[in-house]
Symmetry: C2
Subunit: 365 residues, 2 copies
C-alpha cells in the first residue's frame, strides 16, 4: 500500500487522474495576477509587499519579488522563520509580538534577516520588544493604527505619536512608521488618520519613514491613499469568490480551484460533493453558501459537514451532475484553504506542472 | 534558530510556557469521556465504534478500543490507511468510494485490514466496488440511508432493499447491513426507516447483519433506536461548545481548550486574541460567535480574521483581560481544530504529559 507521500502527482499527470478534494493552482492565472498587481503599484510609484499568508510558499513569494515586490509580509514569527530559512531578507511581521518564548524567537530571527520589522499598538508590546533588543542590532517597529478596521491598532493620531515616541526612545528599537489594515472602502479614513499622525510626528521631530496600508479588495483603489508609501496584499495572488464580489478580479482571474467529486445524488435537487469544512473551510465572508461551482453556477453549496458538501440543485436547468463527476469549486476564501493542505498542486491547462510543499502551513505562532 | 519541530514542549513543561494559539487536551477529562460513553453503550448492550475524525490519533483510538469499542469509524480511505498502518484491524469507512485511484487504494487497504467495510448509497458506487473486489476476498458494504439528515443516503426503505440486493448479488461484495447518520432528535425517523427496511430485507432473504447509527449530540438517547446494533460517535472524546449546548456534556467535560494570548486592547470594550480562523476555524454550528472564553464567559468572540479574534467585552464586569494575558477557549467545534495542528499537546493539570503527532491530519482523500 503506497503511503500518503505517494498521493501527490508527478508533473505531467492529467488533472483528471488526481484524487479529490484537492486545490489546484493555474500557473498562468497566478502569473498574470502577480504581474497585474505589481504593474499597478509600479505605475503608482508605491512599494508593494505581498502577504505570504495566502500561499505560504517560498517559491511563489520568490516570483512576487522577481516581479518587483520590495519584501514580504508575514503575520506570525514562525511564518517568518520559514521564509528566513528560504533566504528572504526583508520581512515585515504585522503583529504584536508578546511573551518571552516568542520574543526570544524574534531575536533569533533578527540575527538572520537583514531587514526585519514588526508592529506594535500598545506600550506593553513596545516594552517587551525594548527589553529584548539592543542598540547594536536594533529592531524596526511600526505603530499599528486602527483606521476603521476594528481589529488591532491605536485609536487616535495622538496615540500613534505617543507610541512612536516610546519606540524612538528605546535604545534597541527604531521607529519605522505607521501601519494599518483599512476597512473596505476606508481610504478617506486612512488618509485622514495618517495625515494627522504624520503632522504630529513631524512636530515631535520623529518623522515617519513609511506608511504601509493593505488589502486586496481595495487594491486598485490604493491611489486614494496618497500618504501611503507601501501596500500589502495577499489574496490577489490566487483570488477567490470574495475578491470577485469585491470587484477586484473576474472569475477568469481566480487561480485556485478545488477539484471535487460528486459522491451522491440522493434526490433530483440534491448532490453531495466530497469537499466539506476540512477542504473548503467554513469561511462564509458574507456569502450564504460555501463556494461557486464553475460548471453549475446556479447550484448552491448550502451546507458543509467535515467531509461532505451538500449542493442544492433546484436553481439549475437539467439533471445536474452525475455520481462520479468531477467539478471545480472557486472557494469563498482561498487563504484558509491553503492552510489545510500539506502540498499545493500547480497546473498548466489540464496537466500538473509542479507540486510544492506548503512550507509555512501550520505556522500559527 | 530552532526549527518548528522544536516548538513542541517536552513532558513536564508548564502550560504557561507554551506558545499560543495552541489546543491542549486534558488527559483526565478525555479518559472520563471515553469511559462514560463506553459504559453507556455497554449498559445498552450496543456495539460502540468511535469515529476517529475528532482526534485523528492512533494512540487515542487505542484507548477507545481498550475501553471496549469494537473497532473504528473513518470517513476517508486515506484516514483508514493511517490507522491500518498503526495496526487497527476493524475499520468502517462511512463513505461512497468512487474513482479508479481511490478504489485501487481501497483494495490495497483491504489486504491489510482483517475487517474492513464501506458504505454505498447508489448503484454507481456499488458498481465501482463490485468491479474492484473478488469473491476470494470480498468487501463488506452497508447501505447508507437518509433518515432525515439530508446528506447522503437512499431515500426509502425499498431503495435500501434494492441496493442491498445489488450488493448481495455481486461476487466480490457482501451485504453488511444499514448505516445512517441521523438528524439531531431523529430517533423516531431512524427507527421507522430501519424497521421497514429490515422487513423488506427479511422478505428478500437478505437479512440485515448490522444497523449502525451515529452521532454525539443524541448519544445518551441511543436507546430510542432499539433496532440499532452499533453506534458511531467522534466528538464525545473531547466535547465542545456545541455538545454542551446539545446537553451531551457539561463545560467540565470539555477536554479541548485552545490557549490564546490577548495581543491587543484597542478600546475598553475590545480585546484581540491571537487565535483566528487558522486556529479556531470559522465553524459556527449555529452560534453567533466563535467559542467560549472560560475566564470571561460574558465576553464574545465576534469576529475572526486569519490570525486574530476580535472579542467584545461589553457584556462583562470589570476591565477585562490585559495585554499578554493567556485565556482558554472552548471551541464551537473540536473536530475541525484538530485538523489544523500537526501535533496535539496533552496535559494533566498545568503540566504537559505528552505531545502526539496528529497522524491522520490532512487525510481528506
Amino acid at each position: 500500500m503506497p503511503g500518503l507521500a505517494n498521493i501527490w502527482p508527478a508533473p505531467g499527470t492529467p488533472l483528471s487522474e488526481l484524487l479529490t478534494p484537492l486545490p489546484v493552482i493555474d500557473e498562468a492565472r497566478m502569473a498574470d495576477n502577480i504581474a497585474r498587481a505589481q504593474a499597478y503599484m509600479d505605475r503608482l510609484g508605491r512599494a508593494f509587499r505581498p502577504h505570504i499568508k495566502t500561499h505560504k510558499l517560498p517559491e511563489v513569494a520568490r516570483a512576487q519579488l522577481e516581479a518587483g515586490a520590495v519584501g514580504i509580509n508575514c503575520q506570525k514569527v514562525t511564518e517568518a522563520e520559514v521564509f528566513a530559512e528560504a533566504g528572504f531578507d526583508d520581512i515585515l511581521i504585522t503583529y504584536n509580538i508578546l511573551g518571552a518564548a516568542r520574543l526570544a524567537r524574534l531575536k533569533a530571527l533578527k540575527a538572520r534577516v537583514a531587514r526585519l520589522a514588526v508592529t506594535a499598538d500598545s506600550f506593553e508590546v513596545v516594552a517587551g520588544l525594548a527589553a529584548t533588543f539592543c542598540a547594536d542590532a536594533p529592531l524596526t517597529v511600526l505603530v499599528e493604527c486602527d483606521t476603521g478596521g476594528g481589529r488591532c491598532g491605536v485609536q487616535t493620531p495622538s496615540a500613534a505619536a505617543a507610541l512612536a515616541a516610546e519606540i524612538a526612545a528605546a535604545g534597541g528599537l527604531r521607529f519605522g512608521g505607521l501601519m494599518t489594515y483599512p476597512a473596505p472602502g476606508g481610504a478617506a479614513a486612512v488618509e485622514s488618520f495618517v495625515s494627522s499622525a504624520k503632522a504630529l510626528l513631524d512636530d515631535a521631530g520623529l518623522g515617519c519613514p513609511a506608511v504601509t496600508v493593505g488589502g486586496t479588495p481595495d487594491f486598485f483603489a490604493a491611489g486614494d491613499i496618497p500618504s501611503a508609501t507601501e501596500h500589502r496584499a495577499g489574496t490577489y495572488v490566487y483570488n477567490d469568490r470574495a475578491m470577485v464580489r469585491a470587484g477586484h478580479a473576474s472569475l477568469d482571474e481566480c487561480a485556485m480551484h478545488i477539484l471535487v467529486t460528486v459522491v451522491s445524488r440522493p434526490t433530483p435537487d440534491r448532490a453531495v460533493i466530497d469537499a466539506g469544512s476540512k477542504a473548503l473551510t467554513s469561511d462564509l465572508l458574507g456569502f450564504q453558501d460555501h463556494g461557486l461551482i464553475v460548471e453549475y453556477p446556479g447550484a448552491r453549496i448550502t451546507g458543509l459537514s467535515e467531509e461532505h458538501g451538500v449542493v442544492d440543485l433546484s436553481g439549475i436547468a437539467g439533471e445536474g451532475p452525475k455520481v462520479g463527476e468531477v467539478l471545480r469549486v472557486i472557494p469563498n476564501h482561498t487563504c484558509v484553504v491553503t492552510n489545510l493542505f500539506d502540498r499545493m498542486v500547480f497546473h498548466d491547462g489540464e496537466k500538473v506542472t509542479r507540486v510544492l510543499k506548503v512550507a509555512a502551513r501550520g505556522t500559527v505562532w
